[in-house]
């Protein structure tokens, strides 16, 4: 949990405590920014919010707060963030949908960190999630010893969010079975949770809402029922808008990973990053960047996250088995792996792209073209 009062000290501490923790929650990492924004916030705050909608927008999309530079957390689609925040203002639940690697959970974490200073009330959806994990369960020892009582109740994150009037997060909601998802329907429409064993009902406090995330590739696995869908405002998160933005994201993440994982290789050149991102973007969108040629898309997702892993993988190869410098061969292996998924079809899609597009790009691209053709042969 974030310490709202002493966040000034928390920021330097964060680095120290992060050392052991693989990853700290957003409210700890950005405690300083949150505190500054709250202090400077002049606009009215909706009930249960720790800052105004405009301040939340600044926190997510970056900007200035007094002398403090607020780092952008979500780059590119400011309008979608505006819609997301407005949704939460209207007490509707928010559903973020997108391809894998489009920063759904990232956005949901930062939204709840900014709005409540707490992003940890999470239900992590899986095929094994049960209704109890959404509503409540019992401490059975106490239940048997004393019968049903408030003390014996083990509250789910959503239950706790209702009580405190804050946001609960539901990750990967479509991984859960449909009947489990449906436990949310009445919670979201009536905003109360009944506990028949205690002959009572728990009303949600103002400020309660749910941010759920779902994966477009899961469509049709556990489709959300129409009734449940209707209770969400749905936002589809797209892939990065422009080449430049995507290159920025990739560069930033590759640097972080290289430092974190101690890959003993030089960082890929700007040119290599640009090439990989270009290839990913072109195959993903099914057309060349200049928009002049349409292409076939392979079956894989080709998310930004995968572009990052191709480069990190290239660095690992170069560091451990190569010259320490990321060569076209190192990249080609990674590209082949992420593009050619469903053997035959993807292979010819990739081949078509290589000979119709890359081959014609001139000398700069030639080494990469050669390496990729070799791998795809």
């Amino acid at each position: 949990m974030a310490k709202k009062k002493d966040s000034a000290e928390a920021a330097p501490n964060a680095a120290a405590t992060n050392g052991a923790m693989l990853r700290a929650p957003a409210e700890t990492l950005y405690a300083e920014e949150l505190a500054a924004l709250q202090a400077a916030d002049k606009h009215p705050r909706p009930a249960g919010w720790s800052m105004s909608p405009r301040a939340v927008l600044t926190y997510i999309c970056g900007g200035k707060c007094g002398s403090l530079e607020i780092t952008p957390k979500y780059i590119g689609h400011q309008r979608l963030v505006e819609i997301a925040i407005s949704t939460l203002v209207t007490d509707r639940a928010l559903l973020l949908i997108g391809e894998p690697g489009t920063a759904k959970s990232w956005l949901s974490e930062h939204l709840s960190a900014a709005i409540n200073g707490d992003s940890t009330k999470v239900v992590q959806g899986t095929a094994g999630t049960t209704e109890e994990q959404i509503r409540y369960t019992w401490n059975y020892a106490m239940l048997i010893a004393h019968g049903p009582s408030h003390d014996a109740l083990i509250k789910s994150p959503i239950f706790r969010a209702m009580e405190t009037g804050s946001l609960a997060r539901f990750e990967e909601i479509t991984r859960c079975a449909s009947e489990v998802q449906d436990a949310l329907i009445s919670i979201l429409s009536e905003k109360r949770l009944s506990v028949p064993e205690l002959v009572t009902e728990v009303p949600a406090n103002k400020g309660f809402s749910v941010i759920a995330t779902a994966n477009t590739r899961d469509r049709g696995v556990n489709d959300m029922s129409a009734a449940l869908k209707r209770r969400f405002n749905i936002i589809v998160l797209p892939t990065p808008q422009t080449l430049e933005i995507e290159i920025d994201i990739v560069r930033k993440r590759v640097q972080e990973m290289a430092a974190n994982l101690e890959l003993r290789a030089e960082l890929p050149t700007e040119e290599a990053i640009e090439k990989v991102v270009t290839i990913f973007r072109e195959l993903r969108t099914g057309q060349t960047l200049d928009g002049k040629n349409k292409l076939k898309s392979p079956s894989g997702v080709l998310s930004t996250a995968e572009a990052i892993s191709v480069l990190a993988n290239g660095m690992a190869l170069a560091g451990n088995f190569g010259s320490g410098e990321v060569s076209p061969q190192d990249l080609a292996a990674g590209l082949q792996g992420s593009i050619v998924r469903d053997e035959e079809k993807d292979r010819s899609v990739w081949q078509e792209y290589l000979s119709n597009v890359l081959k014609k790009r001139g000398a700069e691209w030639r080494p990469l073209y050669n390496a990729c053709s070799e791998h795809n042969a």
Binding site: T87, I97, K294, S348
Partner: protein
Amino acid sequence: MSDREIHVFGVRHLSPMGAWQLRAFLDDVQPEVVLIEGLADADELIPDITRKATRPPIAILAYTDSLPVRTLVYPLARYSPEYQALAWAREQRAQVEFIDLPSAVFLGLQDAEFERREKLRAELRETDQEAEPSEPSQAAADASGEDDNSAAPPPAAPPPLEQPRSLYEQMAARAGEADYETYWERHFEHNRARDSYRLASYQFGAALRELEQDTPHWRAENLVREAYMRRRIEEKLADGHAPEKIVAVVGAFHAPVLTREFPAMTDEELASLRRRDSKLTLMPYSYFKLSSQSGYGAGNHAPAYFELLWEALEQNELARLPMQYLSLVTRHLRVSGTHRSTAEVIDGVRLANTLSALKGGLAPTLRDLRDAAVTLIGHGELSTVSESLARVDVGTSVGELPKGVSQTSIQADFERELSRLKLEKYKSVVRQELVLDLRENRRVKTEEAAFLDLRRSSFLHRLRVLEIGFGTLVATGQQSTTWAEKWAVLWGPENEIALVEAVLLGETVELATAYKFKTRLEKCVSIAEAADLVGDACQCGLMNSMELARRRLQELAAESSELAAVAHAAHRLGLIARYGDVRKFDPTPLLPLVEELFVQGALALHNSANCDNQAAKPLVVAMDELNKVGLEYHDRVDEPLWIERLRKLADADDRNPILSGYACAILLERGLIPNEALSREVSRRISPGVPADLGAGWFEGLSQRNRYALLARQPLWEQLGDYVSSLDDEQFRRALVFLRRAFGSFSPQEKRHIAENLGEFWGVHGDTASELIEQPLSEQEEQALGDLNDFDFGDL
């Protein structure tokens, strides 16, 4: 004369709140004279514009009556402030006049502008092609309706990827809005406070003028126009009207400078302006057309929405607009079969209101409404609601004019073309024939005359594409002649109607055709259709449309791996490129696509070949076509890839045997299979271990090409002979069926040749063999063949 100023009301053309506030303002001021920014010589059209039978959207159309055709379109919707000003003046019997430059001067200026751009383009082409001139008209156009003619020839090159941000976008960005439309709507279209619009737009115009860093050229045109407008205002004052009783309705940009501080245009200046003879008419307009020309001034990306806004203003129910908009979207969606509940509409309205509040707006803008519709009603997907949104935003309204009011530019253009191409005598109700020879006529002097027939052909093809039934192409006996055409020509009143309707597509026949191509391409979903469109565009002599068609074809082809379609398109394009020179066009842009299609076809070959015999037939044709392209353009296309793929298919045992055999035949024809390799392959394929249908199928494929080469290869027939004799009775019967089919398409002479070959191998003399074959069947043989007929085909 007094120094008092007249009333100036700055508007944005096509602005509902502007229209509403203007009417209120006119009611207050009760002017005697209303002056409107519009073509000065269009005054005579005013009675027609305000007639009862006229239903907007309409447009004032000015056009030159000589070549090159220049046009000006000045659209008016019901919610145009200008239209409402005209209507008000009519109701109140006030004097009303247009005060912008006359059309002759406008068209003259346009001429000069085209020449300048042409020059600029030529210079750029010389230096570098990199930076295409970024169409200054769009970025620098003032908020007026006069410059939506940028589609006129020469059609604009594809816009550069990033245009510098225009003045208007800069203004929007300063106010924290993502685009100018939203900025304008939020700040101008929702505020009903008295006089707010006039004062705000005045400030807006002044701010724009401060920010302005336009190319000097555009500044110049604006200055000329403003000087002229001041001149007209002076004239009115000189007529003795009190300044308080004059209201001028002009674009917000011009409002700040229509004062007496600035000089008016002098007689000499007016006389010195370049002019083109022009004609003026009214034409019916459509909301669709209005929306497709949205720039900063001319268009209006959501005319139907703005009409809703106008109606809401008139009924004093502006607050109802968000509900009405979202309900309309939902209703449309329901009609098309997707159910959405009222609850979702309610939540949509709430979201739109919150979004607007986030920006401190008075009411949701169209953008807020659209985003709310996507989030709530589309469940996050734009594609679900995009059609409904388009319907509610753009609508389908088409304007109406009383009979006889319109003499459109396309009719004039048609007449002009007829006389230029010496086709007048064909414009009769009697059917006549016209035979065209597209080749250059070397006996005449001028180029015009030398290619007269070619031009006629292009013209008739354009009319054909426009579905104006003037000429019908008559099939000639010799299908393949590329230089001759025969037309049956006939004119009727229905053609006249079709012609007038075509003005909605474009102001001249050429422009209309180009537009028609564009819409057809957008609808086009099959590769074959797109390839046909490329051909059509070539026949119409429209290079730009051909380029669009080429792109569409590329898009479609990229999405498909259908070998037959891809191969057919490659072949078709290859032909167009090869024989296009008769039509005097440059085939180079087509060639890269031929290359691409070729690679695609080659890559798709192996997968497609996994099919049954029925599906193999079109593939045989496709392989043949691709092979032809390969031979024709061997220096351009990736032939090694094709050969490699053919080899792969020829060697494959798990693909359709006919196609494998056919691949082998192509390789054989290209001399890529040596004799011994062929023998090995034949014996591998046609051996007793292989099921008869496979072996014979392969042979069928092999024998579909270059039969003479096959006939000449004795070893092949020896193997076939060995094979036949190695079969037992049952196998023989099966094999016979397939072999019979394989040889079915051979001519009698070829069959005889085979018989001789086999005969030689079996030790029978050639002549004897033929004799045996040609002898009538004996009874015993008939019996044997009859037995064969009992053969059970059920399992094949």
